[in-house]
Symmetry: C2
Subunit: 196 residues, 2 copies
């Protein structure tokens, strides 16, 4: 009763949405990914940094190169998902800040001149955007399978460069047979929230 | 056409939702925060870490202590929002992992025995949960005002402990008069997404 969001959409985005381990053969189109991006690009980031970068792994050759860097438990699903995406943080996001954050164009030099500050910001804000994108994948009626179990240095060297840090690899598609593990328990409200 | 989510909900969660700078006096209730948590707690995190911790700053005395640590530009809205929450990452999240991730109870020691590994994981996964929570605030018909402009060490010392790292402070409430700055531009799809 406290939520405006209707129950069916609550199910679509959170309650019944699950991390899929198997997928059907139905392709994930460029139009679907564009529609997801054009929705979730509006999610807030600090100073409108928007440091998330996405590599869509579509060619069989690139897929094979990626699978080699996945942990053994993640190889089968990364091999068979209709689409696999690498989510990364751009540590040089500040170059475009004068255009992206016109309220304070000097932020590029006043706040983000030091690389360690940029790396910390890029990591947190790209993670925010990764979560918005996962919600967006579900908003497209698809299942997401985010994974952190891979050789991060290997994926960076193979698909990115020294300015881009991989965050996660995400399988995307319609869930297949036996797609779900048992739902793991969640922490209770009182374990997470305190009031002062 | 590529999204299952209806256009009104797209507006509610992303397109028309904005970071509010002013708020009405309408209180944000405990029931609303519980309903948000009970929805977004299902958002995925690595190994079901769920490291996000939330401090609701409800007493005038605590609010005053928090405002002193905010950057000058953030003090007025943090003083006047109906509710202010501190989002933090629990770097000792692994203690409960055997219960939270029964698929691999040994992960606690096999993967997360080193504090730097835990800090990196807690930071990224708490950021994912922070984004889910921001979406949840909007799903409750409220506006969120997430802020990173504050003395992080000061807020940690005042409200948390050495095991909890503050991520952001979030104003929560119904938007008030002149609540919105101009929408900053977003990066184009082609700037963000590449295909291999």
């Amino acid at each position: 009763m406290s939520l405006v969001l209707d129950p069916a959409t609550q199910d679509l985005l959170f309650r019944e949405a699950r991390t899929a381990n198997t997928f059907t053969d139905e392709p994930v189109t460029e139009e679907q990914i564009q529609a997801i991006y054009d929705l979730v690009k509006f999610g807030p980031t600090a100073y409108n940094q928007t440091p998330l970068r996405i590599v869509l792994v579509r060619s069989p050759e690139a897929r094979e190169r990626l699978v080699q860097h996945m942990s053994n438990g993640n190889k089968p699903k990364t091999s068979t998902a209709p689409l696999v995406a690498i989510f990364a943080a751009d540590n040089e996001f500040h170059e475009e800040l004068p255009e992206l954050f016109p309220a304070f164009p000097a932020a590029k030099d006043a706040i983000f001149s030091q690389r360690p500050v940029r790396e910390q910001n890029a990591g947190m804000n790209a993670a925010l955007q990764a979560a918005y994108f996962i919600v967006g994948i579900r908003a497209a009626g698809l299942a997401a399978g985010p994974m952190t179990g891979f050789d991060h240095a290997g994926v960076q060297k193979e698909f990115l460069d020294g300015d881009h840090t991989p965050l996660m690899v995400v399988n995307i598609g319609k869930p297949g047979d036996n797609a779900w593990s048992a739902r793991s328990p969640r922490r209770s409200y009182d374990e997470v929230v305190t009031t002062v």
